[in-house]
Each structure stands twice: as C-alpha cells, then as structure tokens.
Subunit: 433 residues, 2 copies
Amino acid sequence: LQQGGMRRAARMLNALQPAEIAHLLESLPPKERELAWNLVEAEYDGEVLTYLHDDVREHLIQLMDTGELVAAVGSLDTDDLADIFQDLPVAITQEVVNSLDQQRRDRLEKALSFPEDSAGGLMNTDTVTVRPEMTLDVVMRYLRRLKDGLPDITDNLIVVNRKGNYLGVLYLTDLVTHDPEDSVAEAMTLDIQAIPATWSAREVATRFEQHDLVTAPVIDEDGGLLGRITVDDVMDVIREEAEHQFMGQAGLSETEDMFAPVLLSARRRALWLGVNLLTAFLAAWVIGRFEATIQQVVALAVLMPVVASMGGIAGTQTLTLAIRGIAVGQLSIKNARWLLWKEMAVAGINSVIWALVVALIARLWFHDTNIALVIGAAISINLLAAAFSGAMLPLLLERFGIDPALAGGVILTTVTDVVGFLSFLGLATIFLL
Amino acid sequence: LQQGGMRRAARMLNALQPAEIAHLLESLPPKERELAWNLVEAEYDGEVLTYLHDDVREHLIQLMDTGELVAAVGSLDTDDLADIFQDLPVAITQEVVNSLDQQRRDRLEKALSFPEDSAGGLMNTDTVTVRPEMTLDVVMRYLRRLKDGLPDITDNLIVVNRKGNYLGVLYLTDLVTHDPEDSVAEAMTLDIQAIPATWSAREVATRFEQHDLVTAPVIDEDGGLLGRITVDDVMDVIREEAEHQFMGQAGLSETEDMFAPVLLSARRRALWLGVNLLTAFLAAWVIGRFEATIQQVVALAVLMPVVASMGGIAGTQTLTLAIRGIAVGQLSIKNARWLLWKEMAVAGINSVIWALVVALIARLWFHDTNIALVIGAAISINLLAAAFSGAMLPLLLERFGIDPALAGGVILTTVTDVVGFLSFLGLATIFLL
C-alpha cells in the first residue's frame, strides 16, 4: 500500500468499533495483521485486545513494547484487564499493577481471585446501588449527579441494605414509569435471584437464557453484593462454549487462530495426529491378527472398511446427541438409561436394515453367500456396539473429568474400528475357512 | 406417582419459568414428558411451547385438542405466535387467526411475511417511540401513563420523526441522568444504526455481539420503523447456529429431540447412514481394483486403514477451522488463498514427520523397506490432499449453496479415503510387485 492508501485504511479502521477491529484483525494473515495493528490508534489498543482470541492476542502483544502495553491496558476496566492479565508478559504485569491506583488495584486483585470461567470471573464491579428507603425522586437526583453517567448496559439499579447485602433490583423501566414519590422498596423487583460468584460460566449462561436476563447481580456466600454480569459477556460465553464443542471434536482449541504461524500449527496438529495414529495402529494390529484369513479371502480386505465406517458414522450420531445433551444440561446419569435404550432400539432397527443392504451388495459383488452373511452379522454387531458406546462414553468421560467434546470422537472411532474389524474378520475366520 | 406426589410435582413444575419448564420437558423421555406436560398449567402452555425445539413442540401439540391450543397460543405475543405458527395443524391456524383482534391479526401477518431467520422474523413489534422535540420531562409523564408499563428488555425508547422514520434511540440511562428540561434530541444517541428487516439472523447476531447491543431497531427499506430485536432472541440465534454446526457434522438436525420416537429417529439416521454407505462402497471399490496386489502382499490390507484414517483426521482439522471461519464471517474467497497456503505448509511439515514415523513402524513390523517407503509416500500424499480439500471444500460448497457444516465431513472423508487407498495400493502395485 502507498502512503495515501495507508492513511485511508487507517481512517477506515479506526472508525470501527473495537470488536469489529478485532474481528477484522483475526481475518488477516500474520503480516497483514501486523500492518493493520500498527494502524490502530493507541487509545483503542487495549479494548481491541480484549476482544481477540487468545492466540491472536498473544501474537499482537509480542509486537508491543512495555510503554505501549502499559498505556493500552492501563485504561481498561478492571474486569477486562483481569481477562487478559495472564496473557501479559510477566515483566509487564508488575508495571501495570504499579500504574493503577489503590481502588483499581484492589478490584483487579478481587477479579483475579476468581477462575476466568466462573461467575466471579465474568462479573464487572461497576454496580450502581440504591437503598430501599430512598424515594424514586431521590434516586433520579442521585443519578443526575453521577459524574460519568451510568455504565453501559444498565437495565437496573441494584438495591442493597446498609451492610451491602443484595435485596433486589430496581429496573430503569420501573423507575421511569412509577410515581416519583414511591419508594425504591415499592418499585423494586424481588424475584431476580442473585448469582453466587462460584457458579460456572455455563450455569450463568443457562440462567440468562432461561430468564431472559440483561444483567444479573453477583453475590458472595454471605449475600454481599460483589458485582454484576452483563449479557454481552454471556453471549461470549455461549459462543466460546459452542466453539469449544465444535472445534474440540477435531482436536482443535477454540482459541485457535485461523492464520496461526505454520510451525505452531504443525506442532499442535501433530499431537492430535499422534493420538489418532496410535488408535489407527491398534486397528491395524487387529487386522494383522487375521492376515492368514485375508490371504485366503481377499474380498475381506475390500469390504472391511465398510464395516468400520458404518459403525463410526452411527456411533458419532449417538455421541453427538449425548454431548449436546450434557452441554445443555439435559442429559445426566439420571436419564441416561432412557437415552441408552432409545439409541439401542434405533440401532437395532438400523442394524437389521443395513445388514440386509450391505449383505445384498456384497452378495451381488462377490457372488458368495457366506461372505454376505458374515458382513451382515458384523454390521449388526458394530452398529449396536456403536450406539452403546456413543451413549455411554460421554457420561463416563464426564465422570472421570475428561472433556467428552475433546476425547469422545477418538475413543468412539477406536471402539467402532476395533469392534468392526474384529467381528468381521473373526466371523470370517470361523465361518469362511 | 401417587396422587399426593403428582400434586407436589405439579406445584414444583409450575413454579418454574416457562423456559425452565421447556428445558425440563426436553430432558424427559416421551411418556414422562406427556405426564409432565399435563401438569403444566394451561396459562403457561403457550409460552412453554415457544421455548421448545421443533420436534418436541410438535410432539406436545399433537396431544392438545383444538380448544386448548387456541387458548394457549391466542395469548402469545404476535412475534412468538409467528414463530410457532407453521408448526400448528392447518385446521387450527384459521381458528387462531379468527380469535385475534384486527390489530394483532395485522401484526401476525406482517411477522409471517418475513423469513423466520431474518431480522424481520426475529423482531417484536412492541416498540415505544418518542419524538425528538419532546422534553425528557414530557417523555417521563408519557411513560407513567402507559397502561402496561414498558415491555420486557427495554433499554431505550426509539426516536422517530413525524412519518415514523427511525432517527435514533433515547437510552433510559440517558433519560434518567439528563436534565428533565433537555429535549429528546439533546439526550438521544445517533450512532445506533437500525437493522434492515432483510438482514439474516447471523448478521443480526454479529451486529449485537460486536456492538454489545441489548435491543436494536428494525427498519424497512425506506427507513420506516418496523419493530425491534431484543438480545434474548439473539442469544437463541447464537445457540441454534452453534448447534446446527455441531449436530450438522453428524447429519443431525439441531431441532433433534434426544428422546425422539425410535421409528422416527431410525428413519432420519438411515438417510445419513445411506449416504455414508455409498461413500464407503466407493472406497471399497477402489480397494477392489487392487485385489491382485493385496493377494500378493497381505501387509497392505493391514496397513491401508492407517493411511485413510490419518488423512481423514488431518483433513477434518482443516475443514473444521474453515467452517468456523466461514460461520463467523472471517473466511471468504478473499482470504481463502492465505488459509490454503498456510494449511498446505502445515500439512507439508506434518506429512514429512508422519511419513517417517509410519514408515519406521511399518519397517519394524513387516521387516520390508519397500512397504515402508510406499506407506510413507502414501501418507504424505494423503495429508497434502486432505489439507487442500479441507481448506477449499467449505468455500466451494458455500458457493453452490450447500451447507458445509452438513455435507463437508462426508465429502472430505470420501476424498481422503479414496486418495489414501488409491495412492497406497497404487504405489504398492507399481513398486512392490
């Protein structure tokens, strides 16, 4: 780009929202991304960083010197700062902390004391509180005196008692529609339950979705108000959880940068390929046990991928249903029995149909009724095994603290490969030789 | 359950939010679900129905008689009614329309005129509008006279001119912090752009996420205000899109009921299994071309699943990255070239590493250097082919209007199976015989 083009590009870039700039940066490959990042005005740097996926953020942070970084993140809200704090180089973090005043330092410390994916980690501390005995008129006058106005995404004021314990919320919609002489106690809503800081991000998201919340107060174990969670952060949680599930099935992290450096990507992918190589060789080893059989009936070698692949597909369907069920909190040990029976019944029907279809095709192809019978039986066995492991595996993994979205697929296809080859070649050895 | 237990269950059930009742119903198998549905009080029926996935909703609608259904859906907001309207039996829809007054009938007609997954389909018509020349004091008095108060999730009032054209929004936070003598024009925000009714739900979600919106006005092509979209509906869009991607990869619909009737499930799964059977037999046919080769070197039959599976895994990783990129709007024809080169480079590195590893294992296992060389070469070829198709396939499918989340996986593994078997057995035929 020439000088004039660069200036135009910079103007266009800086006219965007920080989230839009972040989105654009992520869709650029490394060199162009660095170029564009240098065009972003320093005052937006901090906010843009908060919107980036971890990988891209680390990349850009590496390009900044200490002074730039401290200036960029120093102006962030403490909850945003807390989110990116662990991505900052250690040398910087102390300098950042030093640049904060005591109040912000305390807030940062508090925010860092909660895990990132808990209600405490999601919350902001920018609450505006009122007391139940105030009249709405007094509240209005209080609000008009607020120096910076109300924080973004404020749909209610939080009502607390003298000790700072949570009592309820006063919706702005009620504030503006009630008689100004009414007290906060008369206009407030009592049935918004506050969220304990220890809740997981997933529980918070479910609460927001089911109660159509825009913001929700967060409390400590004694009912003391700690902060509030806003719906924009909850949307991010839903998006990230979904990406985690989707990308996890391919062994990718949801923070993966589409244009990550080649060496980094190759290293990360290698791990997953290595895990799968082990399972592939396990399947190969099973086949190897039957070399003598294959030597005599080569048709087996031709047909065996069909058995394994049908099992893999059917099992993945059940697995996917179960993983979704667990993720949305609709599947647990309690109702797993029902899912298992239903899936076994479905597999029962499909195993009959597909055994017949595959057997028929095999018969037509190889003109050998025995091969047809053997592959039909093997398909049936593998579809039933696939349904069983697809339904039980996620709950089993969950129980052992292993993420089913990440490990489920590999383990399942290992099972269906091994069962498929074993049943097909095993039956063939017994009945065909 | 006994009589007393039933009464307790009913009390607990009806104390929940409609969304929570819907969530609970979905986690029950059919018989228990019907039982629980009968315990839900009639006044909640309509709202609960709006929160259910399509499959479950259809199931429960079948259990209701005409009178119940008309009563249940007649009280819904018109936008909610529009959402479930096409799931109602045809015999009912006319009766429902007849039960509405003229204003609601017009609104329903308007809502039905937009596709469900467009901004027009997402919007509610419950807007509260003000005019720029009003003073805030007048606005407040106007709001206090509103019979039903402000609608749920109202963070702003929409400012329109005399013709009903959209001008901007007056945030409630500004309404309560500004001087009451100020005019709406002085306190309003101009930089919230209204959303055209023709935008897709995905575009709406991106706008909400990037601008941290709680509500957004929707306009027609002439700038006339049609309604507004609220963040709770946008959260549903994000959730559904994510489920569509995740479930689609296994050939399942995102509306799939975990406890769907066995026969219905079996029929739906059968379709996907059938598609995959075709591709499995295509792969088998490729192997069949090399029967003579396998007859002479049985080790090939043992090792060939390793070649196919490594290609499938590597290709799925690239495919997943590309599908995510398209879904979030960060990958298009414009930057696809970069992704392709990066993925080919990653595959280049990994193909060398894994060719060596697999060749080494094959050498140790079968004590045959030629087999080792052949499988190494085949792995390399397949990993490169996998990266190429993983990166290009989604954009190609998207171009032809085919959903990559649904078809991408099947086509990709067909490619990697065929390329894997063809290169491995082909090279073996040339160099080993």
